[in-house]
């Protein structure tokens, strides 16, 4: 009896938090589908009278969202490819090779974990200016060519592969990079995926760095495009703003919902190890 009432109390509390967390997302979706005359009403409408799909068309045409979308995909794909390459190469050496200075290099990688972008952005801006790379894809991609987090995570994973497997592979003439490609990476798939998902969300959503280095539509990414759309449109068409917000957020939400079991498990893992 005591136990049942305690469970009920916990359940009510969790439901209350759930309501507060879900409400803004519900309001985002509902507002995105409302016709304009149902946005500014004295009593807010909880459901639109009909689904106004036209909002998405108008919002998409309201700014260069097609361009922003392509830029986001290009930039994030390039960053992920670079980070996976540099991180797995470095992690391979740090986990499976003995060489002078290995400990020091590992320490340098771990140390870079605690240098956030808010420390580096002023200097990196000036560096990019010297390179003449400001306002180009290079500015959006190059500073993220390596990932201390990815290198560290992959190293931990590569360490767990038994030495005997490498010896066996060597007998079959599978050494060095071939061993990395055919054995280490496939065996570390959960970690590779975990890191890829974390990096994907971080860079797709990134607002701070693109804000600093982009100054023209041709290379702006989605978060910047949305923020600019908001600052132009504010106080007027909230249904269009919500429609635009929805299509900027949608790719990450869809990826999260489909990979979530995997994503959540890997992310917990990542959190603990970081």
């Amino acid at each position: 009896m005591m136990r049942a009432s305690r469970r009920a109390a916990i359940y009510v509390a969790v439901l209350a938090v759930a309501a507060v967390v879900a409400m803004p997302m519900y309001w985002l979706v509902v507002s995105a589908f409302k016709p304009s005359d149902e946005i500014f009403t004295a009593t807010p409408r909880w459901l639109p009278s009909h689904l106004e799909w036209q909002n998405f068309v108008l919002a998409w045409q309201g700014a260069a969202f097609g361009r922003y979308f392509i830029n986001s995909v290009l930039v994030v794909a390039a960053i992920l490819l670079l980070q996976l390459t540099t991180s797995s190469l470095a992690a391979f050496a740090l986990a499976r090779r003995r060489f002078a200075g290995r400990g020091f290099i590992l320490l340098a990688v771990i140390g870079a974990l605690i240098i956030p972008i808010q420390v580096t952005f002023l200097a990196n801006f000036i560096t990019l200016q010297h390179f003449g790379w400001l306002d180009s894809y290079w500015a959006l991609i190059a500073p993220f060519a390596a990932s201390a987090f990815g290198t560290f995570l992959l190293r931990q994973s590569f360490l767990a592969v038994p030495e005997a497997l490498e010896d066996a592979a060597r007998l079959d003439r599978c050494t060095g990079l071939a061993f990395l490609w055919h054995f280490l990476l496939p065996l570390s798939r959960p970690t590779v995926l975990a890191f890829t998902l974390v990096a994907l969300v971080a860079h797709w959503n990134d607002y701070f760095w693109p804000l600093i280095v982009t100054n023209r539509d041709a290379i702006r990414t989605l978060p910047i495009g949305l923020a600019m759309f908001v600052s132009q449109e504010v106080t007027t068409d909230w249904n269009l703003l919500m429609a635009a917000t929805l299509f900027v957020a949608a790719p990450m939400l869809v990826i999260f919902f489909f990979t979530q079991r995997y994503f959540i498990r890997s992310h917990m893992h990542a959190g603990l190890k970081r």
Binding site: R7, I10, Y11, V14, V17, A18, V21, P24, M25, W27, L28, S31, P44, T85, T86, L89, A90, A93, L94, R97, F99, I105, A108, V109, G111, A112, I115, P116, Q118, V119, T120, F121, L122, A123, T127, A146, S147, A148, T151, G176, W204, Y207, I212, P223, A227, V230, S231, W238, M242, A244, T245, V248, A249, M252, L253, Q260, I264, H267, M268, L272
Partner: protein, 308 residues
């Protein structure tokens, strides 16, 4: 293999394989350095060098009036500490940090403990609570702008239902910082919930079971067994939350621009304003150095406190 050795004869084979093995041994010595080189070079260029450069820059004057850095000693720091706005910003940042860190960690822990009890629909709740974490900050900020709109926002309508007068959530300087805190907690607590869920599932079940059999009540069980065992996780979560709260920028830049009357002006926004709106990079660098001195000092203190 056999056939080729028969053709070349024993002597040539030995010489060739010797040369090959010496070559490969040489390569094997250099190879690890080649593998770490790309990552290490990028980390040095984009992470370590900027750290030194920032400190150096903070002692220079670099702005519209002096486009080439000129040595300026401690002038930037002197001006910074004499700026009343800087102290206001420090105070805002302290309030934001001291509210968001315990709130997001506390909420994360409470929900992790609740969801860990095999609650009906626990997985659905877990997904829901984590969703704000993967939502782009720009998207969250835009929705928040709409919900906290003074005239037609949902928040004021809900207040009206409770019979309360409307509030200028983002336009009234006595509320704006609280609104930003609420959004910050909403966006991040799901991350800490997952971190705690992982830790809870890794706890030694035997100890908890023994306490349960001994008749210890849930509340006592939590405070005398679970909470102490979660100490390393709480340490990790606190340091991450601290660093995250000092980095707060996106919501400010999109929703309030630091206003009204600097009520929501936080450190990174202050640095950004001086660097990229007033183009005073030397001064911005000095503020960034002070900010990171603070973050690392507080993190070190927290770590010391947790490990004492």
């Amino acid at each position: 293999m056999q056939r080729s050795s028969a053709v070349m004869g024993p002597a040539t084979e030995t010489a060739a394989s010797l040369r090959a093995s010496r070559l490969s041994r040489n390569f094997r010595g250099v190879a690890p350095y080649l593998y770490v080189l790309p990552a290490l070079a990028a980390l040095c260029l984009w992470n370590y060098y900027p750290l030194l450069f920032l400190v150096d820059l903070s002692f220079h004057k670099l702005d519209a009036s002096s486009p080439v850095p000129t040595w300026d000693g401690l002038a930037n720091y002197r001006e910074l500490f004499a700026d009343p706005l800087f102290w206001r910003v420090l105070r805002n940042t302290a309030i934001y940090t001291f509210l968001t860190v315990p709130l997001s960690i506390g909420l994360g822990l409470a929900l992790a403990v609740a969801l860990n009890q095999r609650l009906f629909g626990a997985r659905l709740f877990r997904t829901l609570f984590y969703t704000p974490v993967v939502l782009p900050t720009v998207a969250a900020a835009t929705v928040a702008l709409w919900i906290f709109n003074s005239n037609y926002g949902l928040a004021n309508y809900l207040l009206e239902l409770l019979g309360r007068p409307p509030v200028g959530w983002l336009t009234d300087s006595s509320y704006a910082l609280w609104t930003i805190v609420a959004i910050g907690v909403w966006k991040t607590f799901g991350y800490f919930m997952l971190v705690y869920l992982a830790a809870l599932q890794a706890l030694p079940q035997a100890v908890l079971e023994a306490a349960r059999l001994d008749g210890a009540r849930p509340w006592d069980r939590f405070w005398s067994i679970t909470w102490p065992l979660l100490r390393p996780t709480t340490w990790f979560a606190t340091v991450i939350a601290l660093i995250l709260s000092f980095q707060a920028f996106d919501f400010i830049n999109i929703m309030t621009q630091g206003g009204p009357s600097n009520a929501t002006n936080l450190l990174v926004f202050y640095i950004y304003q001086h660097g990229f709106q007033y183009f005073r990079l030397g001064y911005a660098a000095a503020s960034a150095v002070v900010m990171f001195g603070l973050v690392y000092a507080i993190s070190a203190f927290v770590s010391f406190w947790f490990n004492r």
